[in-house]
């Protein structure tokens, strides 16, 4: 028995997705016609299945309840998104005071020894806490439980795929200021800017380029990896 024709999978579907005209083969080849029909059935099945994916009936009320609960934190809202991930990792977070605010925010009362602050800065000043735009500078400062610059690294990625900042881990040491490591990076393009902080008992691997690969390599080297939630630049 002859092998079934695979032209639909190899090229027909992509041509169709591109809106191109298909050649006569696709109207005559039984294998391609069958594969095309199976695609159409699958697409219908996806729509049918998706219609069953419904949010809980009271979700709108829950949203407004959360808004009411979270209202007092709104002035910190830009980096508020960072908090759940760090809190989940058992870390303390403290905040830059917004412009005009009453001095620096306080460390988390839990007193954990690892604090991260992220803000949008202009020179030494934190100028904006919300709604970062391309051209703004992201500053990350982390107090880490080591003073050995070889054992701490910061990496910042855009959309998890593009490494835009790296220090530590055998590369350029991270800058140390006031017992904290610091990273500053110009956010030139829209995207989600996410940082990881690596701390290890031994040498840290050099960055490979994507967040997942670097986090996996650091874990494999026995380092601890702290993942920040994305900061979105529009």
């Amino acid at each position: 028995m002859a092998e079934p024709c695979t032209r639909w999978d190899a090229e027909g579907r992509l041509a169709t997705e591109r809106g191109e005209t298909l050649d006569a083969h696709f109207a005559a080849c039984p294998d391609c016609l069958a594969a095309r029909a199976a695609d159409a059935a699958l697409s219908a099945r996806l729509v049918e299945t998706g219609a069953r994916w419904q949010p809980p009936g009271d979700w709108e009320a829950r949203v407004f309840a959360r808004i009411a609960r979270e209202a007092p934190a709104r002035r910190f809202s830009w980096w508020y998104a960072l908090f759940p991930a760090l809190a989940a990792a058992g870390l303390a977070v403290f905040f830059f005071a917004p412009r005009g605010g009453g001095g620096p925010g306080s460390p988390d009362p839990s007193g954990a020894g690892f604090e991260v602050q992220i803000g949008v800065v202009d020179g030494a000043q934190v100028v904006r806490s919300e709604n970062p735009k391309p051209g703004d500078t992201l500053r990350l400062t982390a107090r880490v439980p080591t003073r050995d610059p070889a054992r701490v690294a910061i990496r910042i990625y855009r959309d998890d795929r593009t490494l835009i900042f790296a220090c530590g881990g055998g590369e350029v040491p991270c800058s140390l200021a006031d017992d904290a490591v610091r990273a500053e990076v110009l956010m030139t393009a829209p995207g989600a800017y996410r940082s990881i902080i690596l701390t290890g008992a031994g040498p840290l691997p050099a960055p490979a380029g994507t967040l997942d690969a670097d986090a996996a390599a650091a874990r494999a080297a026995g380092a601890s990896v702290t993942l920040g939630e994305a900061v979105r630049v529009w």
């Binding site: 591109r18 729509v47 998706g50 979700w59 709108e60 808004i67 997942d212 994305a230």
Partner: protein, 203 residues
Amino acid sequence: MTPTEDNPTTPPRASSDPGAAEQAVLALLERDDRRGALTALMRLYGDAIYRHCYGTLLDADLAADVHQTVFVEAWRDLPRFSGRSSFKTWLFAIARHRCLDALKIGRRRRSRFTTDDDAPEPADPARDAETDLAARSMLPPLENCLGGLRAESRTAVLLRFQESMSYEDMGKLTGELAGSLQARVARAMPVLRKCLEAAGVSL
């Protein structure tokens, strides 16, 4: 006359004229009616955003939580909505980021930082974001097979077929070229089809 003035308790659904519905939301914002604007957005896009969250996460509890987070964030950011994109694209962008965050955090909690070597789609360069295999085995076959795709492929397929989103609009969400997304969808479809056939589902 805007649809919301017509009937304030039932803002327009996505199936009515989406342009007019978005204009109505803008008008509410211009009147400083942020609550009305958010309510209208929830009615317009709540179901679609939930589908996106569920389809990405394949976990109802997590999807419900992230879905609410998306609208809490939308509430927060609405006063600064720039109008550079549609509300729909804006909400999907928030949802996409939050869902991918949830996938990462969930994966981190399970200590299953899987590598590309484990992924079933060798042709797909997107990062692996496979959901937990044990949890997936409890899902219906189509969802189980969707779970076998990488998150980037799964969401591209679902946005394409469930939301009828154009590749250009998808590209605005992901920052990728329409052609890459087309190719990703074209690669994922036979993987999905073969997975369903292997599970005994006839199409």
